[in-house]
Symmetry: D2
Subunit: 292 residues, 4 copies
Amino acid sequence: MEKFKDVQSENPINTYSLDRVGLTNVARPIKVHRNKTVTLIPTFRVFVDLPPSRKGSDLSRDIEALEDVVGQEVDGKIKGIEYVAELIVDRLLERHPYATSAEAQLVADYFLERKNPKGRKTTERYQIQGIARKKDGEKTIRYIGATATGISVCPSAMKTVSTLTGRMSDEPPFISHNQRNDVTIIMSVPDGKDVEVDTLIDIAEASMSAPTFELLKREEEGMLVLQAHKNPKFVEDVVRDVVKLIVKKFEDFPDTVMIEVRSESYETIHKHNAYAEKKGTLGDFRKELKEN
Amino acid sequence: MEKFKDVQSENPINTYSLDRVGLTNVARPIKVHRNKTVTLIPTFRVFVDLPPSRKGSDLSRDIEALEDVVGQEVDGKIKGIEYVAELIVDRLLERHPYATSAEAQLVADYFLERKNPKGRKTTERYQIQGIARKKDGEKTIRYIGATATGISVCPSAMKTVSTLTGRMSDEPPFISHNQRNDVTIIMSVPDGKDVEVDTLIDIAEASMSAPTFELLKREEEGMLVLQAHKNPKFVEDVVRDVVKLIVKKFEDFPDTVMIEVRSESYETIHKHNAYAEKKGTLGDFRKELKEN
Amino acid sequence: MEKFKDVQSENPINTYSLDRVGLTNVARPIKVHRNKTVTLIPTFRVFVDLPPSRKGSDLSRDIEALEDVVGQEVDGKIKGIEYVAELIVDRLLERHPYATSAEAQLVADYFLERKNPKGRKTTERYQIQGIARKKDGEKTIRYIGATATGISVCPSAMKTVSTLTGRMSDEPPFISHNQRNDVTIIMSVPDGKDVEVDTLIDIAEASMSAPTFELLKREEEGMLVLQAHKNPKFVEDVVRDVVKLIVKKFEDFPDTVMIEVRSESYETIHKHNAYAEKKGTLGDFRKELKEN
Amino acid sequence: MEKFKDVQSENPINTYSLDRVGLTNVARPIKVHRNKTVTLIPTFRVFVDLPPSRKGSDLSRDIEALEDVVGQEVDGKIKGIEYVAELIVDRLLERHPYATSAEAQLVADYFLERKNPKGRKTTERYQIQGIARKKDGEKTIRYIGATATGISVCPSAMKTVSTLTGRMSDEPPFISHNQRNDVTIIMSVPDGKDVEVDTLIDIAEASMSAPTFELLKREEEGMLVLQAHKNPKFVEDVVRDVVKLIVKKFEDFPDTVMIEVRSESYETIHKHNAYAEKKGTLGDFRKELKEN
């Protein structure tokens, strides 16, 4: 007999099931290994469901499930944070036998060495995420995501400025306003396939007016500014171009892959932000383009 | 003929529709009137969809739609922020004739005069939200929401402490740990019915171990602490008790009403937070309780 | 005799005084009146010091001091938030007889109706602050502050682009990158003088490449973009120009007035921000310019 | 001759010096080595001053100074983040020959393996900071800081509850309210001495009612709750106890060492936070206690 009463296991009378019970705001360093070993410090959110027959979910088991994975298994042997999420989900279901579903979400800063317009090396900060969800008797669904910050130049103001300055017949680019732009791509990873966060970051950066760099000496700065102005983009254009590149890049992926794309630009001529978003499956996207 | 080229109306070749295009991070003071006139300073998010036949959404029309409502109509004549959201949605669809759906979200601080355990007046801060979504040919769906911060006392630690101190046979309450707890309730508002944010706040506060107060003199503080310890609650209990009160309070509301309830507690014995959530329709909730 | 023990008034043995003891994260709507009556919802921070002879500061008195002012006195009769801060400081010292110093800080969103480049009305969001500090036997020092968000265009990239595009001999402006820029001005208010937050906001906006507007129709957007590019500014230029305007505007203010100016720009070609700052007295500033 | 004009080096007429010009919001992973090698991902803020004879500070040199240190030198060979800050300050002054002062600030999450009340291993999250400031012809001043989150139990409510429940003659502890409490200690590091962040974290945790742990099984949770209730503390007590431990621990440190201590508690019976703070030199603190 247990010495201390297990209050969580009490059977409440006449009550409801809960969809998600768990922990938020937990952080822990982990090492993952794709082409190189990387130390990440993700923030975790982990949940299981709760049947009406139990008063509480043993939340200390959530930390144990997380430690099972983070402390023992993830040390350069795991490929990416979506697989860390998947392992945690498995352990959550083992440690909560009453649960029929589990979920783990990880968000972390991520750094890549990049080359700026003249090839100078610079280290750039991104944000990545890994999500796994599992229901009893179903396969785990894994998601991988990335957010890249770049620059977008307004195509409309550029046109107006060319008119205001009487240069309509000249070749663009012209003066415009340009913004810090956060592009986020999240997609499900089908079994037997892999999605690299670096690929998602490449697609996000390729879809903005230009990527941005922490280190730009004088000429490099001018080159980047020109490059961005030669490629003006609304947030709408950015999202559509991400979708196009996704459809092309993952042409051998099944129709069921779920995709979410967002672009938010911190307008420099306004105090508010501009925002565009598209969600759907690869199948939806393939079908839509054929029909337009 | 327009002098300045309308870049947004260009017809791009072979591209995608977008689900949501609009503005985030806009704030503006408004006056609403239910039983009293209240000045709110909401943050707004407004969106319409975009067909594949248009390059861009005229985002300046979003500000105009918002100003139509905020500047001219809402001056103590509108009942609540869910109706402000609905009016904005109507104006968004008027001003964006190519759009087939629109959405407006408002979040604002909100203050109520309360009485503490000895009846002393104190002003308490809450957060409220109003959401409206409309698709062509369908009715607008309105949501109203509220977040209240209260206290929750852990039932499990209380039991363990009673054992550790050899007081198992005594009457509770015993020592436990207690947390700041944020409870959020969001529900759709059916036509012909009204939901007061004050009602949602009352339900949220009634479902925690106790409400909290900015002003508590010595005895009042002790009374509140005792009251909370006589009513220990897990986040799981809090969410279930909110659902019970919702089902009871809105017994004449239709089955289709959508409800989301969340409780997040900022644990004092851990650095992480505990979290519980339940989503569903009133019909789901009514059915579930009958079956358990 | 009091029924409940006053633990705060206990005399601890052999301990330290404390500089600041009080409350943070309190919000309450207030009405102030300068040229018009305005509802603000400031967040308050209030503190008194604590002598070594007392175990604790009665924190419920801080709320009472705040309510004394907010609930009873400030209803369109108080001119600005720096005076609200001053009144709270007076009440803090009355209610904490053991204290020898007190401080109150208020920060709030603030809205002004502005006219955009073609004179169209638009409502703009700013942030204002009021601070008061008082020590026994000394006069209260009041501070007023404002933050305005505008646009700054990079002068260096503009020059480089003119070289890269072979237009060195043409008249500026040229293409450059431009940023969202937050300018903050805080200054002490001497007795017998008044400083309007609107004046500080005017100075902040006049010191950037251009102010920004929530509502800009096509031509207005182009005009604003051109205006900003004709007036390129580093964060360094912005801070210096604020200081120049302050020195000119407040030429009849005493040398002892304390001033702090900050400009932070959210770079669009980098992921980091650029920052410049200058602190000093009006006297320092007057003297420095004579010497340069 | 340079091809691209160096706008920053232009000599503006009749203008002001600036106190701090530089970068904020830069992050980069680094490895430091004290007893073990640790990967940190600090956020950096770096500044130099600017003379009136220069239009701008070459901000790309700030990134180069940071990369000089982060990329080449800090790879397990540097002892702590205050030394990373010091190295960056040296490089800033080398790369900005016109500057007479420089500053670097680093803030990072930091993790320690701890043992909970029954000795079970658990990984805990803290925040650490390193700061260095240097003026021409003066020695660099280094600061090290740490923030630990623990629990504090209210001594006053405990006393009131004992009265309300008629248990005044019983032995404490009684029921009270308890809070999540953030304690921050920042101190300057004199030449020839070292301060470990782990020591500051130990002192912060020893000064609260109890430390907190991510993993607590049932009995461990009860033990921690009891331990905290046997050691009730106001935020005032926490700051004073930190100061006492600092004075004792660093008794061989010079009087000139600067110290700042803060405790902020997220009240569970209120929506606001309680706050206490003390700043001064070790010499001040030593003198004050002798005089009381």
